[in-house]
Structures are given as structure tokens and as C-alpha cells.
Subunit: 474 residues, 2 copies
Amino acid sequence: MTLAPAHIEALIARAGAGGGTTDADTIAPHITEWRDKFMGATPLMLTPKDTESVAAILAYANEHTIRVVPQGGNTGLVGGGIPGLEGREEILLSLKKMDRILSVEPESYLLTAEAGATIASVQAAAAAKDRLFPLSLASEGSCTVGGTISTNAGGVHVIRYGTMRRLVAGVEAVLPAGTIIRDLDGLPKNNTGYDLKQLLIGAEGTLGIVTRATLRLAEPERVRHTLWLAVPSPAAALTALSTLKDVTGGRVSAAEIVSAAGLGLVLAHIPGARDPLSSPSPWYLLIEAATTGEDAALETAIMTWLEARMADGTVTDGTLAQSLTEREALWKLRESLSEAQKHEGASIKHDIAVPVTSVPAFLKDGTALIEARWPGARVIAFGHVGDGNIHFNVSVPKGGDGKVFLKEWEAMNAAVHDLVVSMGGSISAEHGIGTLKRGELGRLKPAAELEAMRAIKRALDPKGILNPGVLIPY
Amino acid sequence: MTLAPAHIEALIARAGAGGGTTDADTIAPHITEWRDKFMGATPLMLTPKDTESVAAILAYANEHTIRVVPQGGNTGLVGGGIPGLEGREEILLSLKKMDRILSVEPESYLLTAEAGATIASVQAAAAAKDRLFPLSLASEGSCTVGGTISTNAGGVHVIRYGTMRRLVAGVEAVLPAGTIIRDLDGLPKNNTGYDLKQLLIGAEGTLGIVTRATLRLAEPERVRHTLWLAVPSPAAALTALSTLKDVTGGRVSAAEIVSAAGLGLVLAHIPGARDPLSSPSPWYLLIEAATTGEDAALETAIMTWLEARMADGTVTDGTLAQSLTEREALWKLRESLSEAQKHEGASIKHDIAVPVTSVPAFLKDGTALIEARWPGARVIAFGHVGDGNIHFNVSVPKGGDGKVFLKEWEAMNAAVHDLVVSMGGSISAEHGIGTLKRGELGRLKPAAELEAMRAIKRALDPKGILNPGVLIPY
């Protein structure tokens, strides 16, 4: 990219005290995805320290039609926050120096933070005031408030607390022309025009740059009941979940499904992992109910429910964690799945969702589809069954060539996505579109919706300076 | 309005089997607000029976630049669904014939209905499958799915279940040019571009016409613990609420504040109403915790909490409803407030919200403001204290002339709204903007947000045919 030195100088000046750099070594970690799947390029990284500097940068960039990619923790998986992909000419605007927690109000269950604050720091600040920030995902130590808002992040607690969208009570953001909109009061009820924050949530930085947010907190989960259950089928897992939700009065906070093949990989490759049950099952359900304090009635209700489910065959075996150590061991089985799968060689991944009641049909048809067209390929499916969000990963056939297998990525994605769309599902449940799935979105999203998206983009970013390569199909 | 007979004929033909009418008597109830505050006019009311007919109507209207006002149950309070206000030339599109419940899925906690279905019918269909549709508001017998989506309705259960926005899992809608967008699968996780339904929610029919929706259901509230508490101040009410939320693990589903003056009016004017407590208090809190089944631990926790709050002075007296009859009597005290206030003559109303922690300051400053500038005027404040949403109503001075008093409507609104905005609050917590508050929104909303709203409106409705007089300041 041939960005004139005068522009570089002007932009760094507008970045204020936080400054910016053209130093390739400093920039390097910000233009490479952590798995090395996306390798970008940029002549300039800006690291402003306040909202006014972000506004000054965008005003200048918009005036001179300089394209800007905003970045949070750089933990994304779809090439949504890396400049210079596909040969695009873009500068990088990192929010990493805007990482302060600005306030925590336990009485109103609200927290306000800058966009670059990590989710882990938000969780910690809430916990220090005896409140829960319920978003929880693998990258929480690095991913940021702004990034999780811009991708509407999900994770394991969506079933009870919703995605990031439900947790955002207000945002401050800079629009492409450099104007600031600010609504950080966290009003639960406010009907005074189009809810602009809703448009920014999940927009992947294409309509504005989130600079601050007010987030909703929940009551702390002081007591958790965690069960590892053997279930005969995904349909049984859904029945188990829906009946437990009822019995606990909506206090189920996680429900993760794991196949026998998935557990097998974890037991084979993860040191210290052991099967919590004595006999094998085709499917397992890790399910957790939580509440704010000692509640003997809840535990009794769960045990009564478990007896009834074992009597009617919904559950065939199970164990309830008796200590924090036991709970962590159960969760580790689920959380080690991606890691365990790496030991089996190359894999092709799908972050999809189908309507919750269609999960059993999807697993059956999806597996049949893969096995018919890619003989020997091994489906490892697991994930957030209560959200219909399955991580449908496919490992290379045993002894097969990983590089050859990975050439099937696009064909396999397309085949799985066609099935997902035919079931009313989503080709991106929680990772977003980014650069990776832009083409697939163009292929599969109805024309009326694509046209509405493009019209909104043109309306708010007429010069197309904000993250122009992501989300919206060309 | 001089709508050419050829247009009338063409539009009625496009309305399909549901048809339309130019008969003034049939149209009359649809162009008058139930309090007679808004009186509209229109030459044509269309009553399509399906989405395709709505699409055909809008395609024709857009082509010929005929302005259309969509209407649900006509229960709005701000002139948002009545055609022909302020001399505008508009036809009426009523969704009343599209009132079917299409499906209820208890296992996935979802229900799909047409836009004209009433909220009461949705509640009943959910209850028949042992699920709860938690939106609850005074007009629920008449207000509709489409209307409550377009106004992002609130009500008494927002504190636990959120406003309509959180309850909408998907919509089908017709955009101004007559194209249909459809997303009724209710996926909890779906990140594939701008979430267009979020833009339609609360848009008051200015960006599209919602024709169907998939709504989220909750576990039923089979057991409710309802308390009427005497509290020394609004601040004490907030402390009571936040500690009870913690103790019950988020199971508080309503928290309504009532002043001594408000209770006094109810006792004076509502037959059968009686004070549940033996001695007076400046403020009262009606608070309810609910769960799905018998839960002795919850009741014990509530009683332990009540003892602690009485010991520390947060609560000075209280009663727990011991039967459904007692519960209904407590709720009637709250629900009769508007009715009771009518007996005191004219009143000027404000549907405002402030940050939850600012409720005490707002009540103090707001009351002082009224009493200083309008001597003798009587503030009757009540409402959803946990949302910061106070119905701040002001009655004519005792013995004063109602007509003279009502001339103060705009001046008093402006004064109260200035205070609200200075505290970071909202001039429309749950009723919306409509025609009534369009001017106030223009006066008080920041220019950058107004400009973004106008840009979005132009992008999706370039000819301005959909509900052109509401929401967006000219």
C-alpha cells in the first residue's frame, strides 16, 4: 500500500498520546491470525488512547478515503480484523490501549468499559463486586469488549444469558465520518428511535468503531451443579435439556454435547483425562445448573429429575460432580476437544447452527453426507446443543494426507452449508463472516437481505472506508 | 386525501381475500385513539390476510408513492398507528386479519404467530403447552405481535425477561419496495450480517411491516411469591430489589413502586381496594419472585431476606400474599393507579426512564420542579422501579380547571424531559415516539444520531412511503 508520508504523519498526530507506528516488527503480531490462517499487511498501525482520537482518525480517513480495519484482541477465526487481506489497502486501528474498566455498579447490575478491555478483565471486575459477567468463551483472556460486540460473540452460557447482544446495555461508537454516538446509561427501557447499537452489534466493524460499552451483569453463580450424562442420542440430549430447564426454573447455564468419538480422542490424547462413567455411550451431555446460594431444593430437584430420566431411558448413566476438582475435570473433557482433534491431523471446520429441534436430523444427515462423499473422513461433532450450535469438525481419514484433505475445505464447506441452509440454519453461528465466509454468504443469503445490508452500509459509510473487505459480499 | 379511484381499486385487488374498504363507519374505530387524543382520517383501509398480499400492496404503493400506515391493535398512546394525523395523506394497512398462531414448540421454547395475533392469544397458546410468554402489559388483550415488536413494548416483567426485543427470535417482514425478508427459525446463534430484525424492532413501522414473528418462551411461573412492602424511600426500594434479586438467583419477575399519594387515590376511588398494611408509609414496593414448581427453599430465602431487610430498616413493614386472591388484590392496587387518577381530573403524563440508580434523585428533583413551577399540581409517580421507568403523572391542582391545566402539557413535558435528559434518561421508556413526541425527539436527540436515523430511513425507504409522520423528526 502506498500511503503518502503526509497521511501517515497526519494520522499518527490524530491518534493522540497513544500514537501509531510503521515499524514492521511491532505491527507483525497484529496482521497474523494466531493459527497463521490469515496473513495480512499494512503500512500503519494506530493505537489511540481515547474516543476523541478515534474520531479524529476516522474524520481524516473519511476525508481522504483511507480504509481502516479496527481490531480488538485479534482472536477472530474468520479474517475479520486483519488489514491487507486479499491485497486490500488498509490501515490498522487497534483498540488495545483503550482497556480500562470505567465503572461497576452492582446495584444496577451494570459495568462500563473501554472497547479494548478483555472479557477476562470484565469478568474479574464484576466478580470483585459480587456480580457475574456471563459471557464465557475460550479466548476470553485475549478477546475484547469491542471485538465481542462487533462479532456478537456467544460461548457456553448463551443458553441462559444470551449472546453478547443481550449483554450490551449501551455503546459509545465513532461513525465513519468521525461523529461520535454515545449511549452508556444502560437504560433497560428506551424507545426513542432506531436502536443504533443493535446495528453495530455483529457488524464486524463495518458501520462504526465501538469505543466504550455498558454491559449487563447477572447475579453470581455461587453454587453450580454439574452433570456428565450418557444419553442414547442427540434427541435424548434435547429432551434432557428441556426437562431440566423446566425443573430448575431456567437455571440451566450450559449444555454441551459430546460424541463417543470425541470423548475417545480426548481420552487418547489429553494427559490425565479419564472417562467419568464405567460403560460407553454413543453420546454424552455435559449439563450445568447454577444459582446464587446454597439451595438444597435445587439439588433435590435435579436428583429427582435424574432418577425420572433414567427410568424413562432419556439418560442411561450419569455422574454429578461432588467437588470443584471434579467439576473442572468434567469441563476439561469438553474444552479439550479442539486440542485433542489436532493430534489426529488436519481437520475441516464448520461453525454452524440449526433450529434446536433439528440438531438430531442435522447430525445424522451431515455425517452421512460426509461419509458418502469423503470416505474415511471422521466427523467429530460437539458443542452447544441448547443453541443448535454444533462445531461440526471433520478430521482427515486415518493415515491420509492432511494437505490433500485440506484442499477439500471449500467443497466440504459448501456441501455442509447447503444442508444447513435447507434446514433453516446458519452458516456462521458465532464466529462471524469476516473475509472467510463472505463468498458463502453471497451465495446463500437471500437477495432482499443482501440488498438491505448493502443499502445500510452505503447510508452510514458512503465512502466505504470501514473494514471494506469483510461481511458484505461484493 | 384525493386517492384516485383507480389506485383504490388496484390496492383492494392486491389485498387479496382480506380485501379493503372505503366505508367511513367501518374505518372509524381504526382512525381514532381510544382516549380520543388522536383523530385521524383516511380514504382506504386494507386488511390483507397473508404476507404476499402485504407485499403486493407495498410494491404498488411504492411504485405510485402512496403513503401507508400499518396498524396492529390500535392501542398505542403516541399517535404512531393512526393515518391522516397532522393533515397527512395516508392509507391504513391493518394486520387484524392476520391473527393466527402458527406453531408452538415447547421443547425449543419457541412460538410463531402472525403479526395481528394479540399478545393475550400468544400467552394462551404458550400456556396450553406449559410455557410462558412473559410480555405482560395492560393492553395485552388487544395489542398485537406486530405492534409490540414495532414499539419494542415493555410492561411489568422487563426486569426479568427483557422488553419485546429480547423475546423476538425472528421475524418475517415486508420492506417498503414490497420485498419479503424472512427469518423465522429462531436460531439463538446466527451471525451472518446485519441483524435486520433488530432494526425493525422499535422502528414504529417506518422501515418495514412485520408480518410474522417467532417469539421466545420461558419456563412457566407456576409458583409466585408476591409481597407488598412499606419502604421509607425510593432508594430503599432499589436496595430491596437488588438484594432480593441476589437471594432468589434472578427470579424476581416484577418490582413496582407506588407512592403514598398514589395508594391514597386508589383507596379513595377504587371500590373494594384496601390498604394491606396497618400503618402508612411514604412509599410502597410490590415485588414478586416466581419459579416453576414448589420450592420451599425459595420461600424460606425470601422470608429470611425480609427479616434481614426489616432489621436493617430497608423495609419497615410488609405482607406476603397467602393465596391467589390476596395476590390479585395486591396487584389491583398497582393496576388501578391510572384509573384512580382519572377521578382527580385532568393529568399530564410522562413515560420516562432514568438510570436505575438515579430514580431517587429524579423523583426528588422532578417533584420539586413541578411544585415550584405549577403550585398545587399533584405528582403521582409509580411504575417499574427496576427498569428506571417511572410513570410520572401530574394531576391538576385540587379544584383547578382541567382545561386550563392541560394547556401546560407541552411546557411541563419539556421541563420534565430536560431534567430526564440531564440525568442520562429517556423521554420515551416504553410508549414510543409516534407523532406525539416527534418534536421533542428532534429537540433532544443528538444531531449525529438523528442524522444516522435519517440515513437509514432514506436507505430502506427512499420514497418515504412507510409511516412518514412518525418517529423521525422532520
